[in-house]
Subunit: 559 residues, 2 copies
């Protein structure tokens, strides 16, 4: 178990403070669930440094607003107020009063005016921050960038570049540092080395405390241990709901809620929520209340309309403990608001589950601003992430099985707003392969035609297949629920699904056709949408855009 | 000329306030450039309404921070403080003190406590806001959502759904509204109709004012007129720089700066800037200073590290007048931060020019957080936007010609950090076709091999072509600088570039290979990168990832 988190935001700006809010949330949640009056087994601070650039990014305001709302008292942020960014003095673009803003956000604020050498002031500020337990604290630390460099300090030239040999010499002289490069003087070494025995003692004490906790609170200890180690409880997969073609038709967003609720019952570290769309994304965990200031033991997270911050916070939760499995939700089109955080999930191997509903023009009247077109392909092309678009109940359960098992690879589930039937031939095992045959009346791996689809259009492909078979054709219908998983299968398996000899292929998907050439080949045809959508009920708009059984049949016949 | 802008943010939240900041910036800039002591020809307010959802989105904080910095005194924002969002009372996720935050951002703030019926208070607030000329004003107007509905007012059920017939009846009764649906009583009609003659008189007065302005200030009037109408000055295309294969090698970001500076000299409404990366994106207009509170007549915009807000502000500028042509810049990977605003450009037909440098792993040491992989394909799939990746000087000039001409379609230019040679065969005309042959030693439209590439990899394809020709092959090298433009060409033209009989095809592009099947066909091969990049100098990393002449040759031979 970690004693304290220290996050430094660098690179994609503002992500660090978002991660820190997630880490502090995780601590607060676990402490509320597991601490006992005689044994506070979870108890650490989260420290984060953020610079002027982080402060300018909108994501940092989003997460600091919700951190203030949640009252994350053990979150301590140091704002490195050096008033220099890449383009020069922040005077040119950033003159707001940051501390006043943070007061508005419900934070405690402290200002250390001499951050270059005012060590005692910094120590006092940390002490003060710790004493404020109901609010996060921002310690604004005014510093000089490149402190010590006689010619480059306080200028943008030390922001992104090395000092250079000459200026390094001048800085050494200026700071009175006579040592060779990489030489650590004995007194410095011994000063810092204090932390080794100190850290070891802390670890030992914590281990003893946990042993005591295990003795007295065996059940809670087992649960906490599974969260710390990430070991999933035996039999969790069986908790996922099962469906037959006779099960009632339903939107995959509703089927997703059945899975979320099933998983939260059996996986202790499963928690999450939506960016103000819980009732549309269908993400509420019915057996739990809201994670709030007064009820941090609960597992429904209310992120507000803060998609980008939500993603960054979930990265922090996922990285806190391997057994914390956060999910977060909005409309699929609004992945555009949080794409930078999703990419960090992929890059940091944080297994966040992105529950993205209203996944096509099938969402209807909200119109083009809410209708994703290019989003599926845009995530299929993103490295180390799984884009899953299940077609019905069994595929939704399969998508969740995959998502939970992929702890080092985030998953995005694209889910329908509209009702879909439970299809014959779909399966959890099929989803695990990414692409598979749901029906086929051919033999010898040589159908006349292959119809491929994902999600809500698999029904259309299945029906078109049935019609064409009635006319005497041999037709294979393939679900391509996750291209990434399919590409990982053996060449033999891929050939068994898409035999190279069969060039008559049609795909249907309510999104950009780009990329489908991969599975349709040069002679096949993709049915999809390469323009913005329109506002109309799902049935009407599908007809207008040619996402119909008739069009699939006509297209197949015209090949 | 517009007298006043009124923006209401709906749909993608926070975009409306960002557009409003752009509109207010445009007014301030044009007023500073064109107003005379005796004729203030540009003089209007920008009003915007934003709700709780807009306030939670990070983009709104970004743009309100920079609006405060710029001191946009004629921007008046009404914050509809109805404390309800889709998931219920804002108490569950949004309890910050918005007015205090805005004071921190340098705004003047006013609170109208009774927004339901306090009309005089609202009038007084607007008057007060207008009196504060050096700061934008936030008028927090506390209202009841669904005011008048006896059973649904003040609840989330009126946020996204209609009242329903029964509650409409109850509301009519409650408000004492006895009329039939869609009936407008005579007194209401005449009250509102006042605005028709009032508006006509204002227009007439402005036209007379402009006629006077034209008489006295002919030169300025012509310039302002071209900004208002969007008519480009004759001969502007000739201002673009021209290159020969003998011109020095250079990064396309530097060639881009030559184009930006050339265009700003001849196009009066050309202005823009970067999100704190002007010196890396190479976007400074050398003949102009910074647009700042005291110098609003200048044309270099300093957006700070606020990519998302930058995009939304540029949409506002572009939509203010057809002749205002805004460009904005960051690293290509950080389009992830601003994707929602870019999509609004496409949806609103706002011809913003996105100058996106550091467009591949070729950027080197900054590593995977800064290296785009999936970004090219993700924008190629976005409707109504042009993704352009020029290879050298002539292609960069061509990309700018296309971008300036496309006033209803935004353009993204992906530009290299690293030096690239000026290639033989590239041309502005070629870019306008999106894809074209830069060299070919075959006859009868039947080369042995077609090599395709974009941007920095076109050099590699050209060199590989030369090598293979030495070995006796006939090789065609194609630049696919913009897939969208190429797809708009005639079938004959496309066949003349990619004859269907030629199936031996290899593409090379430093990004995701997904989508290249479209041009390579089932038998061709794509060389690219389908994983995250790495931190190393450009030459080293290209070698490690197989983006080399040797690999192109080997791949072609193995087809």
């Amino acid at each position: 178990m970690i004693h304290c988190w220290f996050v430094y935001g660098i690179g994609p700006l503002g992500q660090g403070i978002a991660n820190a809010v997630g880490l502090a949330l995780a601590e607060r949640h676990l402490a509320a669930r597991f601490n006992k009056p005689d044994n506070e087994i979870v108890d650490h601070y989260t420290y984060v440094i953020l610079g002027d650039g982080c402060q300018m990014e909108g994501i940092s305001n989003e997460v600091c607003s919700i951190a203030g709302h949640w009252g994350l008292g053990k979150l301590i942020a140091f704002y490195d107020d050096n008033h220099i960014s890449i383009d020069g003095d922040t005077e040119i673009a950033f003159t707001e009063d940051v501390s006043t803003r943070f007061e508005g956000l419900g934070w405690h604020t402290i200002w250390v005016k001499n951050g270059n050498t005012g060590y005692d002031d910094i120590r006092a500020a940390i002490k003060e921050a710790k004493a404020v337990t109901d609010k996060p604290t921002l310690i604004k630390v005014t510093t000089t960038i490149g402190y010590g460099s006689p010619n480059k300090a306080n200028s943008y030239s030390v922001h992104g570049s090395a000092l250079g040999a000459k200026e390094v010499d001048a800085t050494r002289q200026n700071l009175g540092w006579p040592y060779e490069p990489f030489h650590v003087p004995e007194d410095v070494k011994s000063h810092w080395s204090r932390h080794i025995p100190h850290g070891a003692a802390l670890e030992e004490a914590w281990n003893a405390k946990f042993a005591e906790y295990e003795r007295k609170y065996a059940e809670e200890a087992a649960e906490l241990k599974s969260i710390i180690t990430g070991e999933l409880p035996a039999g969790w997969v069986e908790a996922l709901p099962k469906y037959t073609p006779e099960s009632p038709a339903d939107a995959t967003r509703n089927l997703s809620q059945q899975c979320l609720n099933a998983l939260a019952k059996v996986i202790p570290g499963f928690l999450g929520g939506s960016a103000d769309l819980a009732s549309s994304n269908m993400t509420l965990l019915k057996m739990f209340g809201d994670f709030q200031k007064a009820t941090p033991e609960e597992r429904n997270l209310r992120f507000g309309v803060r998609e980008h911050g939500m993603g960054g916070i979930c990265n922090g939760i996922a990285l806190h403990c391997p057994g914390l499995i956060p999910y977060c939700a909005t409309f699929f089109v609004f992945t555009d608001y949080m794409r930078a955080a999703i990419r960090i999930s992929a890059l940091c191997e944080a297994g966040v589950i992105y529950v993205m509903t209203h996944d096509s023009i099938g969402l209807g009247e909200d119109g083009p601003t809410h209708q994703p077109i290019e989003h599926l392909i845009s995530f299929r092309a993103m490295p180390n992430i799984l884009m899953l678009r299940p077609a019905d109940g069994n595929e939704t359960a399969g998508a969740y099985k995959v998502a939970v098992l992929n702890r080092k690879r985030p998953s995005i589930l694209a889910l329908s707003r509209q009702k879909l039937p439970q299809l014959a031939g779909t399966s959890v095992e099929g989803v695990e392969k990414g692409g598979y045959i749901i029906s086929d009346n051919s033999s010898g791996n040589k159908p006349d035609l292959i119809l491929s689809a994902t999600g809500s259009e698999l029904e259309i492909a299945a029906k078109a297949g049935d019609e064409l078979r009635k006319e005497g054709k041999t037709v294979r219908v393939v679900s391509l629920v996750s291209w990434e998983l399919f590409e990982e299968q053996s060449a033999d398996y891929k050939e068994s699904v898409f035999p190279s000899a069969v060039t008559a292929r049609v795909s249907i998907e309510a999104g950009s056709t780009l990329g489908w050439e991969k599975y349709n080949g040069s002679k096949g045809k993709a049915i999809g949408i390469d323009r913005f959508g329109a506002s109309a009920p799902a049935g009407r708009i599908y007809k207008e855009f040619g996402l119909t059984v008739e069009n699939v049949i006509a297209t197949a016949k015209a090949l």
